[in-house]
Symmetry: C2
Subunit: 263 residues, 2 copies
């Protein structure tokens, strides 16, 4: 397998998709009603998915594609090469904000993450990693993350997990919120993974994510020494939904040990 | 008073300050230790404040300046012209992320907001408004906001207000989180005010803000029909800290009536 060639291909494909999205936004500027605008935005979403899948199918017919919208393949095992793709991660941001969403792609071989990409389209911020060869933010090599205690950490966690919910005890999560330096919520798992990997926040957790939300970001996170597991401390499930945490080393243990009580 | 001239002056001053911040970041790239990097960042913060104050004092000696760091004036009344300035709103983002912070400025005459500016420095996103003459995002006029029910609204609220705290009953806030479409938290009151004014989120609330955090954003919000009050539904206090909410019309009432119980 020529991973270097696949890497160059994937980068080019993602950049082209990002360009298509930005162009589409310009052509919808004149739409008056919000309902119409939302329809157009949803159409862009579908077009971008079809663009990715037709290209990958044409140029890598032996590879499989695992993604949100069901245009890809039925995936029941991690054998072979799988492109785990979310063409637009952060759909609510995409619709409401037309920014703060990302293209997320992880390319896995027999379950092992080889290549990872997160493209924050409107900011033109490109994060990528090649297994064992490091992670990059645009052209800048991302340094390996140091340990940070919770008291100095900024945590990506949505308010919905601090409110009573059916997945996790919210009391300990509220304690975590009080004991850390601050919390943020950006509404895109891919962008929050990219933020942890580039040291802008120190951890991110969610109670329900799909493989294509985290597949690209996990490859990047691993190259900078961030720890990625589900909230039981196991490898995240890559064939279906699971809980998820990514954090600096040390902080990952501190959060799991003291603040996570799954229902 | 030539408000057009003051407007042009303020815009130019803010852009120059933003440029200084970006240049300073480039010159600190080579600093190795995180502690040293944080010191340098804090020094930039102080330098920018002094830059603003020296210029305003020189060119508008009869105006007063009300800001975070105490280099400005002691303000005990809203008489005359007051520049309400936060040179770096979102300090934690500034230190941890070197992005997602803003320069926030409101220029008030006898307590009435005449000019408002929010500059998201690293994204080069400039929001501004002139009383009764509309609000702008970069060169684009911002449309007047329509009503949105809570069930379709994205709310800016930090997780710390959903956890038990000494300022507000967190039960009703948790209900609000469950009943809305989603929540976000960006860590800069100015940016969240700019996001509400440009329709990217639908409301933002906080339990403790200072006048310089909200003064610029309030002028912008008013020009697009967003409602700004404290959490008692009164005009926010502009001489000291207060609670705060900005929201689309309708949504503002819905949140205050059903979900806010101050302690």
């Amino acid at each position: 397998m020529n991973w270097g060639a696949i890497d160059r291909y994937a980068k080019s494909l993602i950049k082209e998709a990002g360009h298509k999205i930005r162009i589409s936004f310009f052509s919808t500027i004149d739409v008056d009603s919000k309902a119409e605008a939302n329809d157009l935005v949803t159409n862009i979403d579908r077009e971008i998915e079809r663009f990715f899948i037709s290209r990958i199918k044409r140029d890598f017919p032996e590879h499989r594609i695992f993604g949100e919208e069901g245009f890809g393949d039925e995936i029941e095992s991690l054998d072979g090469v799988i492109w785990m793709l979310d063409p637009i991660d952060g759909t609510m941001n995409f619709v409401h904000q037309k920014r703060n969403f990302a293209i997320s792609l992880g390319i896995y071989a027999d379950g092992i993450g080889m290549l990872g990409y997160i493209y924050d389209v409107m900011n033109d911020d490109f994060y990528h990693a090649f297994k064992d060869e490091g992670a990059y933010f645009n052209d800048e090599r991302l340094p390996v993350l140091q340990e940070t205690p919770l008291a100095e950490a900024v945590i990506g966690v949505n308010a919905s997990w601090v409110a009573p919910n059916r997945r996790i005890e919210n009391g300990p999560i509220a304690d975590m919120v009080r004991h850390c330096r601050g919390t943020r919520s950006y509404g895109s798992a891919a962008i929050e993974l990219a933020y942890v990997s580039s040291g802008r926040i120190d951890a991110y957790l969610s109670l329900r994510l799909s493989p294509w939300d985290i597949a690209g970001g996990m490859v990047i996170a691993q190259e900078v020494g961030a720890v990625t597991t589900n909230l039981k401390g196991e490898q995240p499930h890559l064939l279906g939904q699971d809980t998820f945490i990514v954090a600096r080393p040390g902080l990952h243990d501190e959060i799991l040990r003291n603040y996570i009580k799954l229902k």
